[in-house]
Every structure is written in structure tokens, then in C-alpha cells.
Amino acid sequence: PRELESEHLTHMHTLDVSSLIPSTTCSPSTKGSNKRASLTVVDKHGPCSQLNHDKVKAPTMTEILEQDQSRVNSIHARLSKKLGLNGFHASKATTIPAKSGSTIGSGNYVVTIGLGTPKRDLTLMFDTGSDLTWTQCKPCLKSCYQQKEPTFDPSKSSTYSNISCSSSVCSKLSSATGNSPRCSSSTCVYAIQYGDQSFSVGFFSKEKLTLTSKDVFNNFLFGCGENNQGLFSGAAGLLGLGRDPLSLIQQTGTKYNRVFSYCLPSTSSATGHLTFGKTASSSGAIKFTPLSKLTEGTSFYGLDILGITVGGKKLSIATSVFSNAGAVIDSGTVITRLPPDAYSALKAAFKVAMKSYPLTSGYSLLDTCYDLSKYKTVSIPKISFSFSGNVNVDLDVSGIILVPKISQVCLAFAGNSEDDS
């Protein structure tokens, strides 16, 4: 019995059911806040977010998951196009219309940066799945959605200037946005559209960017949005952290050597950090996996998944299941998507480990949910991912389950619809 108990402790997370209910008050972490070039990361709709006020209605978790699927469809479409895959069936994609005041794949996290002279604080969603940084700009020639902070007014900044159409950087917009730049009165105009049909169109510009008081970048290239519609939920715009030459990472590469890191908070009432440059912790205890060759030439960050372990047992999944599909890591997608065979195996093993608890109905794209309302404590199997380079990553318990309510606690994974996606 002692050995069994020891094995149970090693391979299971045991926690109070009451701890699954998110707090309504902010408990900020001090970690990262005093680091060089470190910004505080908050859940856009949690109590730590300045956007979490009555001005903008927060989406329900069902809406968040529906929007998550449109982001996934968009990533599949963009990668299929870039990789020249034939198997992508565009007609299967779900298009969810953009709604003003709602969100773009709204499991997104936000950080606050400074723009212009004098500096204006702007809260932007950060996104490793796109490249161009943009914010809404006055005079909002066509349209702007409602945002929490005052809209950036370039006429009140002494360091703002437009990029001309003849500039070589104007042509770089094609790869950063997927759309060719246009020209308006010899000023370079960008257009970017996201998977949910949200979009931003405006002047391609340069301006002083302030990350922290010691991290200031003159002539930062960004989009000054004059026509913005969609699911941005009160944020002033988007911070593009992809790999394209126009992304923030490449533009600040001289100072930070194209290294950045983040910690996402475990609940909506906690804070994390987004840090630029190498830090002490980003070298020592970190296990690195090489970027996948699959995403070479794209702005995505590709990973090679080799296997999954549930409750201490490695799942029997052929490595070809993962290698045929490929994978990317994305800060804006909420729920991990797996090839169908891998998801089936994960779900089956999770169900075995959770057999003591009553199953209940599914929740949106999550099909494995439990009613834990009659329990004080619960044991959830540990899950770890193996990546190439002999890297094993143990997920936090907050990365295994999603809790719409205590009577519906769900395995936080979903399967793709096809083996090669």
C-alpha cells in the first residue's frame, strides 16, 4: 500500500476542489516585475486587467472557445498555404463573424507599453502567431472599436512619422501581414486580417516605443490603425512577436539578441511576465527543443512533439502521428489541438485515471468533463509532453483542466479533425 500511495503522489495532482474556482480579486506576482525589460502579463478579462471594467463586456468561456476554433482554423490555413499542402480543405473552416466589443481568440493576454513623445500607455494583446504591432490611431478615418485607454493621437507626438511608399521597409509588409501594402498620398498603408475576420488597416509608421524606462526604441515600425474592426475587446491593439523582420523581436534584436520569454499566470486573478532578452532563469533550468523545420520560412514557432505521458504512463502513439501533422506553439490559441489519434489516446488514459469521478456533458469543444461538485479533494493525472532534443515538460495542473464550473471540470485538450492537421 505504501508503494501504491507513493506512486499515486508521483503521478497525480491532488488538490482541493475549492481551489479550482478563480478568485475575483487580483493577486499579483512579484516575479519578473523587477527584471530588466520585463512587462507584467495579465489575463485580459481577469481582475488584474485594466480592461476588466464595465466599458467592455467580457466574453463567456463558451464564446472564448468558439473564437479559439476560428484562430486554429486560421493557423491551419496560413500554414497550409505557406507550406503548399494540398490536403487542406478550406470549406471545413469555421468562420465566426467579428463582433464589436468581443474578443480575438480571447484567451489572449495583454501587456502595457508606451508609445510616442510624450509617452502614452497602451495595453496590447501579445501574440506569437503574428508579426505586425499596431494600435488604433486618431482620427480613426474609417472606424475604431471601443477601447479602454485614450486612442493614440499621432498629431500629439513629436516623434511620430509616416513611412513613404518608396521606402524599402514598406515592401516588407507583404510577408508580415500577408497583404501587399497600398499607397495613399505617397504614404505606405498596411492591412492585416485575422482568422475571425477581424482586421486593421492604416498608416505604416515609425514612433518611439517605450517598454520600460531603460528600454526605449526610436523609429519602431508599427501600424497606426485608421480602420479597425473586430474582436479586440478593449485592448488598444496587438503586439506581434512572430519571426518576421517587422516583428518586435526582430526590430529590437540588436539589444535583446532575439530572445524573449514569458510566464502566463495560472489563473485570471494572477499576473505573469513578458521579458525581453536573456535572463538568469532563461538559461539555467530551461530545457530547449529546436524549432521545427516544418515552420522554416514562416513566422510561426514550430515544435516537434514526440510523445505524451499521462499519470506516469507513456501513451502508445506512433511517432508518425505527430511527425505527419507537425506542431506550433502559440500564445494566442487557448486549447492545445492534437492529431485525432493522439487526442483519442490522451482522452482514454485520462478517463482511466479519472474513473472514480462521474462524467458529465461536454463543454463547447471540450468533450471530457466531470462533475466534481460532491468532492472536497480531487486527484488529476499528471501530463507531460516530450519534445525533440530530449525535452520533457510537465504541465501545471492549471494546464490540464479547464473549469467552467465545479460541476463541469473538463480535460483542456481537443483533437484536430484530420490526421494531417
Binding site: 516575479k31 479559439d68 486554429v72 493557423i75 491551419h76 500554414l79 484567451g107 489572449n108 519571426r243 523581436i249 526582430q250 534584436g253 532575439r258 530572445v259 520569454s261 514569458y262 510566464c263 502566463l264 499566470p265 505573469g272 532563469s281 532563461s282 533550468a285 530551461i286 530545457k287 530547449f288 527543443t289 524549432l291 516544418l294 514557432y301 515544435l303 512533439i305 501533422a325 507537425g326 506542431a327 506550433v328 506553439i329 502559440d330 500564445s331 490559441t333 487557448v334 486549447i335 492545445t336 489541438r337 492534437l338 493522439a342 509532453f385 519534445f387 532534443g389 515538460v393 510537465d394 504541465l395 501545471d396 492549471s398 494546464g399 490540464i400 483542456a412 485538450f413 484536430n416 492537421s421
Partner: protein, 31 residues
Amino acid sequence: VGIFGNVQQRRLEVVYDVAGGRVGFGSAGCT
């Protein structure tokens, strides 16, 4: 394409070494 989403990244320190062509994971950086 599989996608490693942000729920699964919670409380992991995720390091993007773009110049080095690698992504790192650590669990100690967020505690």
C-alpha cells in the same frame, strides 16, 4: 498542424531563442 496552446503553457517559463532556433521550457521561472 497540432498547436500547443496557452492553457497548457500556464506557469511554464517559455523561452523563445529566435536567433538560436530553439524554444525552451522551465517550470521554476514562474513560481
